[in-house]
Symmetry: C2
Subunit: 385 residues, 2 copies
């Protein structure tokens, strides 16, 4: 059900030839109300795609009537023509839905530099076709239409106390968020004011998508959008809602990690004993971005020296000669020196757990990443050809 | 000739079984004077190997009598036993050479975590054997003994005006300097005071090794050491000497780039039109570290969108919609949009030139890097097994 699980939402996904495979490539999600509250977080990459430039401005009033998403082209670095394409997409959707254009969020994903007249024609065509088949059961179709190199659609649902949250996500490469990552649409029928929606979305993404760092590469097009219809008539408990939203985001983040391009391991880097949350995240992210560590995990090699070398490049509070490192439950390094023999570590399971104890405080954070594999190199050396 | 090209130096390289291949693995370079001036720059990784911890302290007086280097084990994260190994190595060399132990620099390279009693015995044995066969012709033997996954020894010589500079380097992975990178020994028979040696070494490495970033991974063991014998009796012109030293360093850096683990392209990322040198270096380094860009070059794909996405993650002064990008002479992106068709770019040569014009000033810097290949993944997933 994904984004159409909460009351007040309709969605659709259609195929208009943006993908050479003929698979669905334009999705629309519409909020039927009664409230049209929206909030979003965007990539912190300073090179932002045209849809981001539009959506950042359009959402300032806290109202989102609908969101149009296309795969098969990022409409990034396509100049003023590309921006006009985004604007025309919003206007076309607004006209068909009988609302104002600033109520329309637009997201695009695919190859950077794609956004010519053919692209524009197909996106406008897809917007019309999707709006014509909007349905309260269209959540899965929408989730399929935003896939690029994803092998499976990503969906999640949470049932709260009289309200619910639904979500869909796409993203299989270039996963390294600043404020947000990938394309994600979250819906809820809870009653939220715009400022509440914004605050709870930021709180939820900070501990979920912001801690997914598959390949260290930050996209130009990432956006996470929350639409709140108020259709349940229930004002949720603030903490319960934020935690539920975070749980849905973590669920989607794990689905993204599980389907990351070419990966053979889904690695959770749990940093404990940190002096601050910032330190824990910096240490986890530094290890997650270390190509030598990532290649070692691919080779089922518990190379803890590379973990310590990566930690050493951070500004976090720690003494290298106090650090412990465990892999899949075996402490291979204690106090910055060898502990259990590396032969005891079994790295053959896809799910991999690296535990780093900095012994510098009592704060914890977990970063999700993937290994560096032959398939990753292959997929990303052949992507645009 | 490498490090024994300048007057006043002897060197040797011997095999003592640190490498499983039986190839040479301990090198010694001795300064016979009359002056024993030394300077060094060290990795800025906070997780430093035992030889770094020793050498940083020992060099504070500005005197280097000799340097002992071993491959086949990094002696990093090997605890106080490992530090004692380094100290004993310095004492053994000092005793045999009839000098003080603080005059001995020690460098190690190889797998992190390697440094047990067997390792210690072999390093001490190698130190003795190398000192026993020191020779004014031993430069190439020394260069071979410090190789790890290097496929060729790296050597350089510069003839100045009455003085000369020699150098050797090793390093094929984990190439991303902070203050220094890899193991490098530079020698000169010019007459230099310790403060001059230090200043000129820092000036030279800042524009050479500091701009080599093969795989974004900073080592725990990197050290660049300059030994000055004064044997020529010539006080060099300061600018001429610094430029010559930088030229030798650039030569060695290019040799390291050419031999980087598994690479199929040697990429020069030239950033022009930057507002400052810091901006130019940050932009070049960000592109050099972007796995998607690196994989695209491996696939001979002139994917300029990934270049712009990487630039967008920096704090440098630029407007994404002013940036031009050329690859091997073809301007594929101008003013942040598509320019020439990607089909015009020939990326089949190993040497690859990426030119980025930020249009934000008049400063330039070039970062050297490599592509991300199947062989890189293979070599680094199998390294310690």
């Amino acid at each position: 059900m994904s984004v159409t699980a909460p009351a007040g939402f309709e969605a659709a996904g259609v195929a208009v030839g943006l993908k050479s495979t003929g698979k669905p490539d334009v999705a629309v999600v519409v909020n039927r109300g009664p409230r049209k509250v929206g909030a979003a977080v965007f990539t912190s990459n300073r090179a932002k795609a045209n849809p981001i430039l539009w959506s950042q401005e359009a959402i300032k009033g806290g109202v989102v009537e609908a969101i149009v998403l296309n795969s098969g082209g990022a409409n990034c670095f396509t100049g003023s023509f590309g921006f006009q394409t985004t604007h025309q997409t919003a206007e076309r959707a607004a006209e068909l839905l009988g609302v104002g254009a600033v109520g329309i969020q637009v997201c695009s994903t695919g190859l950077i530099g794609t956004g010519d007249e053919v692209f524009r024609g197909k996106v406008l065509d897809g917007t019309e076709k999707a709006i014509a088949v909007l349905s309260p059961d269209g959540g899965e179709d929408a989730a399929r239409a935003i896939m690029t190199t994803d092998t499976v659609p990503k969906m999640a649902v949470h049932e709260g106390d009289g309200w619910s949250i639904g979500g869909m996500a796409k993203g299989a490469g270039m996963l390294a968020p600043g404020l947000a990552t990938m394309l994600v649409v979250l819906t809820t029928d809870a009653v939220l004011e715009p400022a509440e929606a914004d605050a709870r979305l930021r709180a939820a993404t900070r501990v979920s998508f912001d801690r997914l760092d598959s390949d260290g590469c930050m996209s130009t097009n990432d956006q996470v959008t929350l639409l709140a219809s108020g259709a349940s008539g229930v004002v949720p408990d603030a903490d319960a809602f934020t935690e539920a939203l975070a749980a849905v985001c973590r669920d989607l983040a794990r689905q993204l990690q599980a389907d990351a391009e070419g990966a053979s391991h889904a690695i959770a880097i749990e940093v404990v004993g940190a002096a601050s949350e910032e330190d824990a995240v910096e240490v986890g992210r530094s290890v997650a971005r270390n190509n030598l560590f990532k290649a070692a995990i691919f080779g089922n090699d518990p190379n803890w020296g590379r973990v310590l070398a990566a930690i050493g490049t951070t500004a976090a509070e720690f003494d290298p000669y106090q650090v412990d490192v465990s892999m899949n439950g075996v402490r291979v390094c204690s106090a910055g020196g060898p502990d259990r023999p590396r032969e005891e570590v079994d790295l053959t399971p896809r799910d991999t757990h690296v535990l780093i104890d900095l012994h510098a405080g009592d704060t914890t954070a977990t970063i999700l990443t993937n290994d560096l594999t032959h398939d990753y190199v292959h997929e990303n050396s052949a992507y645009s050809s």
